[in-house]
C-alpha cells in the first residue's frame, strides 16, 4: 500500500483530515532511494521490484513493477488544490458593500497579504441552491487528483450507486457522485449519489487488481474515462489484428469539495490481496450474530402489539421460519426514538418476551433526528450537554424530519457518541430487552427542508463544517449505536445494527441495505450489482428490501425476490406504509409454498453463511463476490452481475426476469465442475449453461472440490436449530478431492474472541473424508453431530468405515444413486467438533 497525502504547508486554518475511519495509523516503512536526478527520485516500494518514480516538474508519481507502470498519479496534470484564502471583497457590487462593511473593516489589514493571482468567481464565498444558501465562510477549498491505470478496462466500486457492477465511463455525463443523500425513488443506472459513500475503487485486468482509497468525507465526484470505451468490439478486434500499439487505459479523476488529498494505493496484485490491504486500513466486516443472517420480517409499520403477535403466529401457522420482526417509526411515541407509543405498544417487554419465547428477536428503529420537545428526555439531555450540531450562527441546528422540528446530535463528537451509546442501557431505554436490536435510518442525515434533503453544508460540528464531515455522519451514528448495544450487555453480546448511510469502515458496525427501492423487476436485478459493489469495498452485510419498498409487487416478483434475497447476505422483506400487506402467506397457497421453500433454503445454508461471515471478519474477503474475484484471469467474468458467488463454493444465478422460462448462467473455471444443488447434476466449468426454470427454480451450483455443511432440520428460527445435526455436501472435483470448513460457536457473544469456537477443516482425498482441527488452541463443545454425508460425483464403494477420535471403527450404511453418482452415508453420528475419518473402499 502506498499512501499519498497532500496538504497545504501552512494553511490559514487546519484542513479536515478524516479521523476514526482507519483502524490504526498505518505503520510506515522507510522507502529506499534507488536513484535520483534533478527532476525526481526513484524509490523502492520494497516487495516485488516495485518502485515509485516521483517527478517534480511536472509533478507526477508513477508506480512501477518491473517495466510495467501500474498506476500514474497526476499524469494528466489534474492535481488541484484550492488553498484556503482570505475573502476579497473588492469586487463586491455597491449594493452589498453596506452588508459587508463590517467584514471589510475587520479584514482590511489581512487583505494586503492575500494571493494576487486568485480571482474571485461567483459562488466562491456563497452559493445558493434553490432556496438554500451556503455561507462558505472558508471559501473554495476543493481538491482533485487524477490517476491513470494502464492496461485497465474494468473498474469497480465507489458505492453507493444504482449501477452495474462494472463502472461506466462518465465522458458524456455527470461523474459518479459520492454524497450521502436520502433520495426519494432513486433512478437506476445513474451516477447520482445515494445513501452511502465508500470512496474506494478497484481496477482489474487479467494480470492484476489494484485499488484506490480516497480518504475524504466531503462531497466527492469521480470521473472515469477510457481509451477503449468508445470502441466497438469490431474496433477492438481491428486493433488486435493490426497490432495496434495503444494499450487500453482507464483514467479516473477524483474531486472533493474540501479536506486534503489522502489517498491509499493498494497494489494487489490479486483481488484477495486488495481486500486484505483495504481491510488492514479500515477493518473487516463485524461478525454478526448468527440469527441476523436468517430471515427478517419488516414493514412500515406493524401497527400494534396485537399485529406483531398475529404476524408472528402467521409464520408458525404457515411453517415459515423467521428470526427478526421489525418495527418502523410508528412504534414510537410521536417519533421520539427510545420511546413506545403508549397505546399501540403499551407493554413492549411483554411483546418482546412473547417473541423471545419463540426464540426470535426484534429490531426497533432509532433515527438520529431528535424531536425538539422540552418534555422529551433525549432532546433535553442533548441540548443541555451541547451535543447538537450548530447552525452557522452558533445556535442548535434545526431541521424538519419525521417528528417535525428536529435537532441532529453531533455524532462526530466522541463524547456525544458515548452518551448516545449509554442511552441503549436497559435502564435508559425503557421497554428494551436483550432481544431488541437497532435500525438507524435517515442518517445521511435526512433533513426534509434542507438542500437536497440533507444538512446545510455550513452547519457546524465543533470547529468543522458539515461540508467536511458529511459522508461520515451515518458512519458515526451506526458506530455509536453498535457501541451502545455492546455496552448494554457488558461487552458480552455482539450487536446488530442496520444502517442506511455509510462510509469506508462502516463494515465494522453492522449491516447496510440499499435503501428505498421499488417493487419493480429492474430494482430486483440491480440489487445484485449494488451489493456486489459494496462487498468489493469491505461491506459484506448487504441486502435490498425483499419485495421492493415502494409500490406493490406482483406475486411473481415477490416470489422471485424472496428467491434472490435468500441468497444475499442481509435477507429482509420490507414494505412502504401505503402498500397492501404482503406477509408471505397472503398470495395463495402456491406462492406461500414457494416463499417457504426459498426461506427454508436460506436456513439450511446458515452454517455456510455463518462461516462466510467468520472468514470475512477474519480476512476482509467479501461474502457475496463477483465471479471475477475468484476467476480473475477469465475476462468472461469481468462484467457479469446477474449471478454471483457466495464465498468460493456457491454460485447463484437468481431468476430476475418476469415470466422467465430459463436463465443462462456462466459456470466459470476451465477445469472445474459445478453441481446443481437441487438435482445434483454435474456441469463443466467455463461454459454458458442454459437452465430451464419454473417458478420454484433458484439456480444454485456447488463448486466441485468443495464441502458445504448444512442443517436440514429447518425450524421456527435459527436459534431453535442451534443444536441440530449437520449434513455435509461433499462435491468432488475431477481430481476427486474436496475441502471445506465448519465453524461453530455460541452464535451471539464475543466469546469467540476468547477462543471459544470450533473451526474445522473438512477434507476429502484418496477416498477419505476427514475432519481436521484448524484451531487446536480454541475450545468449544457442541451437541451437533453429523447426521448425513452426501458425496456428489462419487463412485460406489464396497464398504464405508468411520474412524472416530478414540480410534474406534464402525461400518456405515450408505446408499448410492448411480444415475447421479450420489453417495449418501447414513447417520455416521460423530460429534461435529471432533476428529474423525470416513474411509470409502
Amino acid at each position: 500500500i502506498t499512501r499519498v497525502k497532500i496538504n497545504e504547508l501552512k494553511p490559514l486554518k487546519p484542513r479536515f483530515e478524516v479521523p476514526d475511519v482507519l483502524v490504526r495509523e498505518p505503520p510506515t516503512e522507510p522507502l529506499s532511494l534507488l536513484s535520483q536526478d534533478e527532476n525526481g527520485v526513484v524509490l523502492s516500494l520494497g516487495a516485488e521490484s516495485q518502485r515509485v518514480i516521483v517527478s517534480a516538474r511536472p509533478f507526477r508519481l508513477d508506480i512501477m513493477e518491473g517495466r510495467d507502470v501500474l498506476m500514474s498519479l497526476n499524469s494528466r496534470g489534474l492535481l488541484a488544490f484550492e488553498h484556503l484564502r482570505m475573502r476579497k471583497d473588492t469586487h463586491c457590487p455597491l449594493t452589498c458593500i453596506l452588508l459587508f462593511l463590517y467584514l471589510l473593516t475587520s479584514l482590511f489589514v489581512q487583505q494586503t497579504t492575500k494571493d494576487e493571482d486568485d480571482k474571485d468567481e461567483d459562488g466562491m464565498w456563497e452559493e445558493t441552491f434553490k432556496s438554500h444558501t451556503d455561507g462558505k465562510p472558508n471559501g473554495p477549498s476543493a481538491i482533485s487528483l487524477d490517476f491513470s491505470l494502464p492496461g485497465v478496462e474494468h473498474v469497480y466500486g465507489i458505492p453507493e450507486h444504482a449501477e452495474t457492477l462494472r463502472l461506466k465511463t462518465t465522458d458524456n455525463g455527470d461523474p459518479y457522485r459520492l454524497y450521502n443523500l436520502d433520495v426519494f425513488q432513486y433512478e437506476l443506472f445513474n451516477p447520482m449519489a445515494l445513501y452511502g459513500a465508500v470512496p474506494v475503487m478497484l481496477a482489474h485486468n487479467s494480470q492484476r487488481t489494484t485499488g484506490i482509497f480516497w480518504l475524504n468525507a466531503a462531497e466527492t465526484w469521480v470521473d472515469i474515462s477510457s481509451n477503449t470505451a468508445g470502441k466497438t468490439v469490431f474496433g477492438k478486434m481491428l486493433d488486435y489484428v493490426q497490432g495496434s500499439s495503444e494499450t487500453p487505459q482507464t483514467d479516473v479523476r477524483w474531486i472533493s469539495e474540501s479536506g486534503i488529498i489522502d489517498v491509499f494505493i493498494m497494489l494487489g496484485p490479486t483481488p484477495k490481496d486488495v481486500f486484505s490491504q483495504y481491510a488492514s486500513l479500515t477493518g473487516t466486516q463485524s461478525f454478526p450474530p448468527l440469527s441476523s443472517l436468517a430471515y427478517h420480517q419488516c414493514r412500515w409499520n406493524y401497527n400494534d402489539q396485537e399485529d406483531v403477535k398475529l404476524v408472528d403466529a402467521g409464520f408458525d401457522e404457515h411453517d415459515i421460519p423467521y428470526d427478526f420482526i421489525w418495527l418502523d417509526i410508528e412504534h414510537t411515541d410521536g417519533k421520539r426514538y427510545f420511546t413506545w407509543d403508549p397505546h399501540k405498544f403499551a407493554t413492549p417487554k411483554e411483546m418482546l418476551q412473547g417473541i423471545m419465547d419463540k426464540k426470535r428477536k426484534m429490531v426497533a428503529i432509532v433515527d438520529p433526528h431528535i424531536k425538539v420537545d422540552s418534555n422529551y428526555k433525549i432532546h433535553n439531555e442533548i441540548r443541555s450537554r451541547g451535543f447538537y450540531i450548530k447552525n452557522k450562527d452558533g445556535g442548535d441546528y434545526e431541521g424538519w424530519c419525521w417528528p417535525g422540528s428536529a435537532g441532529y446530535p453531533d455524532f462526530t463528537c466522541a463524547d456525544m457518541r458515548s452518551w448516545w451509546a449509554s442511552m441503549f442501557a436497559y435502564d435508559q431505554y425503557g421497554g428494551s430487552m436483550e432481544n431488541l436490536y437497532t435500525w438507524n435510518d435517515m442518517n445521511e442525515p435526512s433533513v426534509f427542508n434542507g438542500p437536497e434533503v440533507t444538512m446545510h453544508k455550513d452547519a457546524m460540528h465543533g470547529a468543522w463544517e458539515h461540508r467536511d464531515v458529511h459522508n461520515l455522519y451515518g458512519f458515526y451514528v451506526q458506530m455509536a449505536t453498535a457501541e451502545g448495544l455492546i455496552q448494554r450487555s457488558g461487552g458480552v453480546e455482539r450487536p446488530f445494527v442496520l444502517t442506511r448511510a455509510f462510509f469506508a469502515g462502516s463494515q465494522r458496525y453492522g449491516a447496510v441495505w440499499t435503501g428505498d427501492n421499488a417493487a419493480e423487476w429492474d430494482h430486483l436485478k440491480i440489487s445484485i450489482p449494488m451489493c456486489l459493489s459494496l462487498g468489493l469495498v469491505g461491506i459484506s452485510f448487504c441486502g435490498a428490501d425483499v419485495g421492493g419498498f415502494f409500490k406493490s409487487p406482483s406475486s411473481e416478483l415477490l416470489v422471485r425476490w424472496y428467491q434472490t434475497g435468500a441468497y444475499q447476505p442481509f435477507f429482509r422483506a420490507h414494505a412502504h406504509l401505503d402498500t397492501p400487506r404482503r406477509e408471505p402467506w397472503l398470495f395463495g397457497p402456491e406462492n406461500t409454498a414457494l416463499i417457504r421453500e426459498a426461506v427454508r433454503q436460506r436456513y439450511t445454508l446458515l452454517p455456510y453463511w455463518y462461516l462466510q461471515f467468520y472468514q470475512a471478519h477474519c480476512t476482509g474477503q467479501p461474502v457475496m463476490r463477483p465471479l471475477w474475484v475468484e476467476y480473475p484471469q477469465d475476462p468472461a467474468t469481468f462484467a457479469i452481475d446477474d449471478e454471483f458467488l457466495i464465498g468460493t463454493d456457491l454460485l447463484v444465478h437468481p431468476v430476475t426476469e418476469e415470466g422467465a422460462r430459463g436463465v443462462t448462467a456462466y459456470l466459470p473455471g476451465k477445469n472445474e465442475v459445478w453441481f446443481d444443488v437441487n438435482t445434483f447434476q454435474k456441469h463443466n466449468g467455463a461454459q454458458n449453461l442454459y437452465i430451464p426454470v419454473t417458478m420454484s427454480s433458484i439456480p444454485v451450483f456447488q463448486r466441485g472440490g468443495s464441502i458445504i455443511p448444512r442443517k436440514l432440520r429447518v425450524r421456527r428460527s435459527s436459534t431453535c436449530m442451534e443444536h441440530d445435526p449437520y449434513t455435509l455436501f461433499v462435491a468432488l472435483n475431477p481430481q476427486r478431492t474436496a475441502e471445506g470448513e465448519l465453524y461453530i460457536d455460541d452464535g451471539h457473544t464475543f466469546n469467540y474472541e476468547k477462543k471459544e469456537f470450533i473451526h474445522r477443516k473438512l477434507f476429502f482425498a484418496n477416498n477419505i473424508l476427514s475432519s481436521i482441527n484448524l484451531a487446536p488452541d480454541a475450545k468449544f463443545s457442541t451437541q451437533s453431530w453429523i447426521e448425513r454425508v452426501i458425496i456428489l460425483g462419487a463412485s460406489k464403494p464396497s464398504k464405508v468405515t468411520l474412524q472416530t477420535a478414540d480410534g474406534q471403527e464402525s461400518q456405515l450404511e450408505f446408499e448410492f444413486d448411480s444415475s447421479m453418482s450420489v453417495l449418501t452415508l447414513r447417520k455416521p453420528g460423530m460429534n461435529a467438533g471432533e476428529d474423525w475419518k470416513v474411509m470409502l473402499q
Partner: protein, 457 residues
Amino acid sequence: MRFYVFIASVFCCAFADSRKIRGISSSYKRFYRERKSFLCIDGSKLIPFEQVNDDYCDCEDGSDEPGTSACPRGRFYCTNLGFRPHYIPSSRVNDGICDCCDASDEYNSHIRCQKTCWNLGQRERAYVEGQMRTLDEGLRLKQQLIEEGVLLWREKQAQLRELQQKAEDLHLKVEEHKKRKHQADQHKEQTLKTLQAGGAGSRQHNNTASGLFQFLDNNKDGSITVDEVQARVVTIHDEKRLLSENEAVALLGGGRQMDLTMFRHTLWDTLTKGDNVKIRDTNAALDSPVVEDPLLMAADRAAKWEATNLKKVEEAYETVNMEISDLQQKLAIDYGTDWEFLFLNSQCYKLQVYEYTYTLCPFNQVTQENTAGTQVSLGTWGMWAGEPKNQYSQMVYENGEPCWQGGSRTATVTLTCGTETALRSVKEPSKCQYIMDFQTPVACQPVLKQRGIHSEL
C-alpha cells in the same frame, strides 16, 4: 332448546404394545406394530424396525420418524390428555419451545415444559361452554330478530303498498289537475284572443247596434252586464278611469243587465250620440296591458291557480315515488334468508380505537372520525362477501374517501355470533383497508353447535 357438551373418553391401552412409538396417534398404531421391518406409510421403502424413531430420516414421507425432528415433512402427534390432541410439524420436536400441553414434544431438550393440558382443557371447556351459551342465547335472540324481521319486512311491504296506492291516487289527481289547468289555460287564451279581436273589431262593429252589442257582450251570453260595461265603456273626459258600478248600472237603465232590444233603444243612442260616455279607445286599451282587462285577469288568476295546484300534486307524487324507490332499494338489499339482518338497517354502531371513532351503519356506510371531528368515509354499502357456504359472514363497504396513493378506502366487516349487536374491533392492516369485527346474534349459526370437545383421560 338445550345443547350438551359431549365428553368422549378414550382409555388408552397402555400395555397393548411392547414398545411405545413416540409421536403417533392411536389410529396410526397399526402401522407401527413391532416386526422385523417397517414399511414407510407411503410404501416407498422397507427399513429395519430399529430405524423407526432413530433420529434419521429414511422415509420420504417422514413416517419412520414420527417422534423425532429428523424428517422435514414429518409430524408429531401430541396426545394432550385432558385437552385437544393435535399434530405439530416435526421441526417443533425438541426445539426448546413447548408446543404440546402434555410436554411430549420436548422430551430431549433443555427446557422444562409445564403440563398444562388439564388447565387448558378446563379453560377450553369453559370457553366452549361460554360459546355454547352465547350461541344458545344468540340463536334465541336471532329467532326473535327473525320474527321481528319478518314483521318489519311485512310492515315495510305494507308501507310500500300504501305508498304505491298513494302514488296511484296522486297520479289520478295529477291527471285531473293537468286537465283543469289545460282548460283554464285555454280559457285564458280565448279571453286574450277575444280581447285582441275585440280591440281590432270595435270600430267595425261600432256602426251597427247589434255589432256594438256583440262587442260589449264579452261572454257572448246575449246580455250586457255591469262588468262588461265597465270593461269597455269610459267617460269622455277621463278615458283611463273605470266606471263605477253605479255609473254602469245607470247606463244599463238602472238594471244589472241589458239585452240587445233594450240596447238599441237606450245605450246605443247614448253611446253614438251622447257626449258623456264612449267606447274605450281600443288603441289606447292596447297600449295599456291587456291584462288590466278584468276578464283576462280573472282568467289568468284561474290559470295560475290551476298551475299551482298541479305543481303541488305533482310534487307530492314525486315525493311518494322517491319514497317508493328508496324503500324498494332498501327492500332489494339481501337481508338474509329470513330477513334477519333487516333490523340493522337504519341503525349505527360506534367504536373508539386509539384516536379514532368508527361508525358502522349497516347497509349504509362506514365512517371514521378523529378527535378533531374530521369525518372520513371508509366506504358505502357494497355487498355480502362471505364464503360461499355462508355469504352472510362478511360485508364489504367500498368507494370511501380516495387514498393518498390512489384507490379508495374500503371496509370489510366480519360478522360474528354474540348476544349483543356491537362493533368489536377495527383494524387497518394496510393503509386505507379497514377490517371490522361486528358481533350480532343474527350471525349465530346453528352449525357451530356441532363443535365440541372431547378429552382423553
